[in-house]
């Protein structure tokens, strides 16, 4: 039996009269990766925040390495060796500082660093931290100029740099591509070997399969299952977390109607083979690919965020070359953007206002907004997408990450579109909800072309009629979603096909 690092008993936490954690007991051992599974809003992040000193528990005890542990803030937790990478990526980096400073931020907080910051020493130590994680980012770049994936990697690299006693990772891979995720896993393996206790939260089955020594399932703020017999029974774990089995409903690819969106010889990256494709009425097409595959380029060109470099596009047979977002919207091209915190969520608004934001005009009666109609529309979406909340008037900031994501998707499903673009729509969404949303999207697919951009193959398979793989700006493969050849897709994505 390994040494116990963290013991918790009877942890309760509620926000107002919303009881989020209702008596959690668990024990985490040295050199073990414990995966916390739970539907969106189950209370995982709340538990993490209690462990890391961000929230205080209402009741319950915690012991760290046998000694009572009740951190009052992040500082105390870190001093006792509990290091956390939070779910919200923006909570992990300082946009106005450069990469080197971001990587070294936690060391700056300790007196051990000395008073004066030597730029040279800082850079040197930062590059050590970066190397340990296999990070290849210019240390002088301002973090504000980096992609979300890079930011995520920076906060992970910083947390993993010095073997803590307990490392908590809350959905660290939600914005990472497969290659980056694999680098993360290697480092996790190394830390595990060094005897670090690790709590890992993810909705990605592939992560869980790869890492878990033990799975603890959380449902409605209580532990609903613990799995530690190898091989881990994932199906049972999913059942425990959702309270029901999920049926891997096989997709019956629909026959596409008349083409709505066509691309002809569009160049996505310099020197790459031009892309031509067509998406028909009622069809759901998933695009997937690794970093630099040109997915962003495609999405941004389609939504008017990037000028069309060459070639032509058509919507409903009419030439389409949007110069900005508004022109795209005017043609019925909607997009749910990725990275909701920076690009989607209006933090000061409640759910209803967030949901109806693009279509406020439709909710205007006379000169004024009709709060009643906003509410009606929002409540309908909350029901359809299974958003876990107290009411439509909840502030968006109080929702769990996955539920915020559902609001972001719901936003664009309220009104019929011609082309619906969903860029990483499942960031942080649990498997059960993912399937519900997938079903909803497929059910309403008639009358529009739906393009889904995902970096996880699983997600593509769950939703699409057709899967297109991009590699370095060109189409590397295409399959109808029936009798999928997974190996071929993986090979095409990595350019080995």
């Amino acid at each position: 039996m390994q040494a116990s690092v963290l013991d918790i008993q009877g942890i309760h936490k509620s926000f107002g009269n919303n009881q989020v954690l209702r008596g959690i007991d668990m024990r985490i051992n040295a050199g073990e990766v414990v995966v916390l599974m739970g539907a969106n809003g189950a209370g995982k992040s709340t538990l993490v925040k209690v462990l890391s000193g961000y929230h205080a528990a209402d009741h319950g005890q915690m012991q760290l390495a046998g000694k009572p542990y009740s951190p009052r803030d992040a500082r105390e937790a870190i001093h006792q060796g509990v290091v956390t990478v939070h779910q919200s990526i923006d909570d992990g980096v300082i946009p106005d500082l450069d990469v080197a400073n971001n990587l070294m931020l936690d060391r700056l907080t300790s007196g051990a660093h000395g008073l004066w910051v030597s730029a040279k020493k800082l850079r040197q130590q930062a590059s050590e931290v970066a190397d340990a994680m296999g990070l290849d980012i210019d240390l002088n770049a301002r973090v504000a100029d980096l992609s979300v994936a890079d930011r995520q990697m920076i906060s992970i690299a910083r947390a993993m740099a010095h073997a803590p006693r307990l490392l908590i990772l809350d959905e660290p891979t939600s914005s990472l591509s497969a290659t980056e995720a694999e680098r993360l896993f290697t480092v996790i393996d190394r830390l595990r070997a060094q005897g670090v206790a690790i709590v890992y939260i993810s909705h990605r089955m592939s992560d869980i399969r790869r890492l878990a020594d033990r799975i603890i399932c959380l449902r409605d703020g209580q532990i609903s299952g613990v799995f530690d017999q190898a091989p881990l029974d994932l199906t049972a774990a999913v059942h425990a977390m959702l309270g029901q089995a999920i049926n891997n409903a096989d997709i019956e690819p629909a026959t596409p109607g008349a083409p709505i969106l066509t691309l002809h010889n569009v160049e996505l990256a310099k020197g790459a083979a031009p892309v031509s494709l067509s998406v028909g009425d009622g069809e759901v097409v998933a695009f997937t690919g690794l970093l630099g595959s040109g997915m962003s380029a495609l999405v941004e060109t389609l939504f008017g965020l990037r000028p069309l470099s060459s070639g032509t596009m058509q919507v409903d047979g009419q030439p389409y070359a949007p110069g900005n977002v508004r022109e795209a919207l005017a043609r019925g091209v909607f997009m749910s953007v990725k990275d909701r915190a920076t690009n989607g969520v209006i933090g000061d608004f409640n759910i209803a206002d967030n949901m109806t934001l693009p279509f406020l005009k439709a909710f205007t009666r006379g000169a004024f907004l009709s709060a009643r109609q906003q509410r009606a529309s929002t409540e309908q979406m909350i029901a359809q997408l299974g958003i876990v909340c107290q009411s439509h008037a909840d502030s968006i900031g109080t929702l769990s990450g996955g539920n915020q994501q559902k609001v972001m998707i719901g936003r664009w499903l309220q009104s019929p579109s011609r082309v619906l673009l969903l860029d990483e729509p499942f960031q942080g969404v649990d498997i059960g909800a993912r399937q519900d949303i997938g079903r909803h999207i497929r059910a309403t697919a008639k009358g529009r072309a739906t393009l889904v951009f995902v970096s996880e193959l699983d997600e593509a398979i769950e939703i699409a009629d057709r899967i297109i793989v991009l590699h370095e700006g060109a189409i590397a493969g295409e399959q109808s979603n029936r009798d999928i050849d997974l190996n071929a897709l993986v090979a095409q994505a990595s350019g080995k096909a």
Binding site: F15, R326, A328, T342, N343, G344, D348, A367, L369
Partner: protein, 319 residues
């Protein structure tokens, strides 16, 4: 508010319609300016130039009528255009040149303070003043213009409600409805909270931001017009405290009703609050220097409660 009750008891003659109107009248102009600032606060900006826009408008109105001998409606129109134009420039500096709002509007403030004095070499404008070419200015403030500052409508009592109060109330209601209940207002709040996300739902963010500064410029110029109409001359020294007092009103407005965000109703209440406080203290014969002290103390204490309590409530909040 408890304040009203307290002063009613403490100072005889505090609680009557005339007294209420005095308070309204004394806060009308600051309040109008504060409403403009509120609009810029909503889009996440700030307008430091309002005080200067108001005094520029005051001087411009006087210049139009006294030196250029134009009728009232021309003076009013010119001032409103000027306000809109300054707002446009502020907006462009912020949106197109990416100058931080405080900085852009501070520069504009200095610029205007200088500019408004150049045509008259720093002198106040009054009928009969001598001009640079040796002649004297013959124009006058027309009765129609002075009406704007001095007429009082009958309501219950005869000649009770002065025009500036009516204008203040109208603007407050208009901005309250606009910000709170139209889609434009909602989008402006969205811009203030997450500009990028708002742009990605197709809102013309730059245009809204410019519009906010234009609204602020126009309201400030209205404030200036009313001030000119009340004073009956282009006095350069007036309007010194307009900026700070209206910023105070707008910021106090955050706290009203625990909204913790800029809102027109709160701003109007904030302005009133300060007005009642000062009026009450004046009636109680408090020396002028204690008024600043009490204003500050009440402000701090009131805000301590509001924000402390609201942060307890939504502990998690944005923080």
């Amino acid at each position: 508010m408890a304040l009203v009750v307290y002063f009613s008891l403490a100072a005889s003659g505090f609680a009557n319609p005339r007294s209420a109107v005095f308070v309204l009248q004394s806060v009308a102009i600051t309040g109008i300016l504060a409403l403009g600032v509120t609009t810029t606060l909503v889009v996440g900006g700030f307008d430091l130039s309002i005080g200067a826009v108001a005094t520029t408008s005051l001087m411009l109105a006087a210049y139009c009528m006294v030196v250029l001998e134009q009728p009232a409606y021309v003076a009013v129109a010119v001032c409103l255009l000027m306000g809109a134009f300054i707002g446009l420039i502020n907006g462009l500096l912020i949106v197109k040149f990416r100058i931080p709002d405080l900085l852009a509007t501070l520069g504009m403030m200095f610029l205007l303070i200088g500019l408004q004095r150049i045509p008259t070499q720093g002198n106040s404008i009054a009928t009969g003043m001598s001009l640079a070419d040796g002649s004297t200015a013959e124009g006058t403030f027309s009765a129609a213009f002075l009406w704007l500052g001095r007429h009082r409508f009958d309501l219950i009592l005869e000649r009770l409600i002065p025009v500036p109060v009516v204008v203040f109330v109208l603007i407050a209601v208009a901005i309250w409805l606009f910000l709170g209940f139209t889609r434009h207002g909602r989008l402006m709040y969205a811009i203030g909270s997450n500009e990028r996300a708002t742009a990605l739902v197709g809102a013309p963010v730059e245009r809204y931001k410019i519009a906010a500064y234009m609204i602020s410029g126009v309201t400030a110029s209205i404030g200036g017009i009313l001030l000119a109409a009340r004073l009956g001359r282009g006095d350069i020294a007036s309007g010194n405290n307009l900026l700070l007092d209206s910023v105070a009103a707008a910021l106090i407005g955050f706290a009203v009703l625990g909204a913790a965000r800029p809102n027109a109703f709160g701003t109007a209440m904030g302005a009133l609050f300060v007005g009642i406080l000062l009026q009450g203290m004046t009636m109680m014969n408090a020396p002028y220097y204690t008024q600043d002290f009490v204003k500050g103390a009440v402000l701090v204490v009131a805000l301590m409660f509001t924000f402390y309590l609201s942060s307890r409530r939504g502990q998690s909040g944005r923080h």
